[in-house]
């Protein structure tokens, strides 16, 4: 039990430090550059890509952060965006599905590439797979929401 507590406290500290050292700089950089032309150009370019899985321009920034740095950090930005503007549940759902399939693209992929995995399958194939799963699940969820709405006799929200 002391062994367990020891691991838990040490591991928690490492985890918190890691999250802190990544989240606070990301938020500061976002806040500083969010309004700049260069940042908006990057987000707009990324938005043109993720439009194909059903994400709008507002969801582009959180998706980009998660895609590059990791689900936890992207999730953090999603939580922030949801708190600030009203992002629809549908958009949060699409972001969550896409990011749960592919995130921390550099760090996570590099570990396996270093181990000898093929770059094509680990990166290109996985991104294509993530896009397909996202499209399929969004369509399914849409049908399901529509059916639930009809059964309730035309509620206002889904």
């Amino acid at each position: 039990m002391t062994e367990f507590l020891h691991t838990f406290v040490g591991g928690s500290f490492d985890l918190l430090l890691r999250v802190f050292l990544i989240v606070v700089p990301i938020m500061v950089v976002l806040e500083l550059f969010e309004g700049t032309r260069a940042f908006r150009a990057v987000v707009r370019a990324w938005a043109r890509v993720v439009r194909h899985v059903g994400l709008d321009e507002r969801s582009a920034a959180p998706t980009l952060i998660g895609f590059l740095f990791g689900l936890a950090y992207g999730g953090g930005v999603i939580v922030r965006e949801v708190r600030r503007h009203d992002i629809s549940r549908r958009q949060v759902f699409i972001m969550s599905v896409f990011l749960s399939m592919v995130h921390a693209i550099v760090e996570d992929s590099l570990i396996f590439i270093a181990l000898g995995a093929s770059i094509f399958w680990v990166l290109v194939y996985r991104i294509v797979w993530a896009a397909l799963v996202t499209l399929a699940l969004t369509a399914l969820a849409g049908l399901w929401v529509e059916r639930a709405r009809r059964r309730r006799g035309g509620g206002l929200d889904g």
Partner: protein, 164 residues
């Protein structure tokens, strides 16, 4: 924790500061506030999830699940032992999974196939907690990542075999 911009509807907007440096100063302040808030949001769900993960490991759940998953491995063209890094990845994280992969002797194709499965599904408890914080069902997403990851790995194994 209340949102920093939690002003009542209809309230006049605060004047934006004039000039470059005051703007930078305001942005830094807002960034640090948002960072700390997000950090706290994540910490609240990640630390309990990490505790659950450790408990699962201590209770021997990894060994038990690996035995359950063992027969599945042949569908991926992997030896039964490959179930261990897969389950280690699901419960713990990518680093732990890579660590337990070192003990196996896998071909390049097997490493790639296993990598695809683990890259899609890993750290399910902690990352599920984060998705939960974003308003999603963490359990459903965990199941989705396991199923979609295994399916992606099976397809990759077939395609690599076909394409040579």
């Amino acid at each position: 924790m209340p949102a920093p911009d939690d002003t009542p509807p209809g309230a006049p907007l605060p004047q934006p500061p004039a000039g470059f440096w005051p703007t930078v100063g305001r942005d830094l302040r807002l960034g640090v506030i948002a960072g700390l808030q997000t950090f706290w949001d994540l910490a609240k769900v990640m630390i309990p999830a990490y505790g659950v993960t450790l408990a699962l490991q201590q209770l021997g759940v990894i060994g038990w699940l690996s035995n359950v998953a063992r027969p599945l491995m042949s569908a991926l063209g992997l030896p039964g032992d490959a179930a261990v890094p897969l389950v280690v990845g699901y419960v713990l994280n990518i680093y732990a999974a890579v660590g337990s992969m070192q003990a196996l002797h896998l071909t390049a194709q097997q490493i790639t196939v296993l990598a695809v499965a683990i890259l899609i599904g890993h750290n399910l408890v902690v990352e599920g907690a984060v998705l939960h914080r974003a308003g999603m069902n963490g359990f459903a997403f965990g199941a989705l990542r396991v199923v979609a990851g295994l399916a992606a790995a099976i397809v990759a194994n077939l395609l690599i075999g076909l394409l040579g």
